[in-house]
Symmetry: C2
Subunit: 261 residues, 2 copies
């Protein structure tokens, strides 16, 4: 990093980035002891541009292999270029698998995790007899027959405000496990089934656990009502195997203030 000296009167600005990435080659969003994180690659590119040490705060800590179209992160800088120029200047410093979609200045008290949002994820299932090589990194290949109608019935139980404790990884440290799912659609286009879910927030691994549970229903191993049982149970039930990370994409994060994709 080539350090720059900004005049003392230069005001601090908070810049919000909307980020798309292919998670295949990374250990996830967050800095980890082993592997390269998306956050650390971004942080290095930003510091190279602005010439200051910065802290990058992301809205969502995506796991290794998870992709994003609309991740959001903020950092503070004294740099004075127009807000939309950060995207272009950073893309020149980033690898091809991380692309800033948009950059905008936000108030200094805007926090990407504490502000009210709606988040949308997509989980893609490739449902055909033989795998497709060009889809292997962006969808979960399921050769078995799936009963989409039953999966849709099961999905209806997920919608609404529930305690999703049984749909969170046991590794979660969060106390409040109540979340609201605004919508959960299952869209079939050819061989591809897309599970599109929007909510006010998601627990650790929640979308992948929901995808795994819906697949269990799709295989006929459990009836759709099983989802309600798991939601209503006071005990800890593991509703099925967690679907693999590479099928998941963080599509968008919308803030009440209008920021985001």
């Amino acid at each position: 990093m080539k350090e720059r000296i900004y005049p003392p009167q230069t005001p601090l600005r908070r810049i919000l980035l909307v980020i798309a990435y292919d998670g295949t080659s990374y250990c996830g969003w967050q800095v980890q002891p082993n592997g390269i994180s998306i956050q650390s690659v971004l942080q290095a590119a930003i510091e190279d541009l602005v010439g200051e040490k910065i802290m990058l705060t992301g809205a969502s800590r995506t796991d290794s292999g998870v992709h994003a179209l609309g991740q959001v992160a903020v950092f503070d800088t004294h740099m004075t270029i127009p807000q939309e120029r950060f995207a272009m200047a950073l893309n020149q410093r980033l690898p091809e698998d991380i692309v800033i979609q948009d950059s905008v200045e936000v108030p200094l008290d805007f926090h990407p995790r504490y502000q009210k949002t709606s988040k949308t994820y997509e989980y893609r299932i490739l449902n055909r007899r033989k795998a497709l090589p060009c889809q292997r990194l962006y969808s979960y290949f399921v050769p078995q027959r799936l009963d989409l109608e039953k999966m849709r019935q099961a999905a209806d139980y997920i919608c609404g405000t529930h305690d999703f404790k049984n749909f969170a990884s046991t590794k979660t440290s969060v106390k409040d496990t109540v979340r609201t799912v605004y919508s959960l659609e299952l869209i079939r286009e050819g061989d591809m089934i897309t599970l599109r879910i929007t909510g006010d927030g998601f627990l650790y691994n929640m979308v992948r656990i929901i995808a795994g549970a819906l697949l269990k229903v799709g295989f006929g191993q459990k009836p759709p009502q099983y989802i309600r049982e798991v939601l209503e149970s006071k005990e800890r039930i593991i509703p099925g195997p967690t679907a693999p990370a590479h099928g998941l994409t963080l599509m968008e994060i919308r803030y009440e203030e209008g920021y985001g994709r």
Copy 2:
């Protein structure tokens, strides 16, 4: 290869494979001095399965970075397993970026390059302001505005039987450069423009040169009639830059006999 001894009376069979691959990591279909070819990886897997030295003959020599959903290739073997089992047995021996979609026995005089066919290719153009990381290996990113209506007018000149000599790489060794294009569609879905072309055969780099020429029209650098001029010209005209390989996918090859995808 562990060699197998087949009884002398075992008849020779010709097996046709329908193959999908992600061309990103390969130097193309054909064996090359540098890099690993798809043909050589397949050949090794087949020899490992059948326990005989085999020769694999492909229908189409795709370049480095070009993908396939329905490449066709044949080989001869004495192995006696049911025809459809070759696909599964080979997939267990292949990397994830090469997947056999189908295997079927064909007459011993069936040749994948000399039989009458129709071939379909797709060239994908991602047309939006910012690149998308998960599409970077499977589409050509074009941020400039494109006039799709003019591109469609230009595409109409391509359809039919023409001498496509100006739409072939100068590296081609073929004498007869007359080909018939049955259809050429430009389909827009969101930010993705797919150029879908079907014909009785294509010259070396022909689809990529057509894509490059149509882009020139889309940018407004040439009028749609330019395509007709290039087709009718007696002189050698290079109609535009060859569009990059990674946007191209060999979708299907259909034989009169009914084989293929």
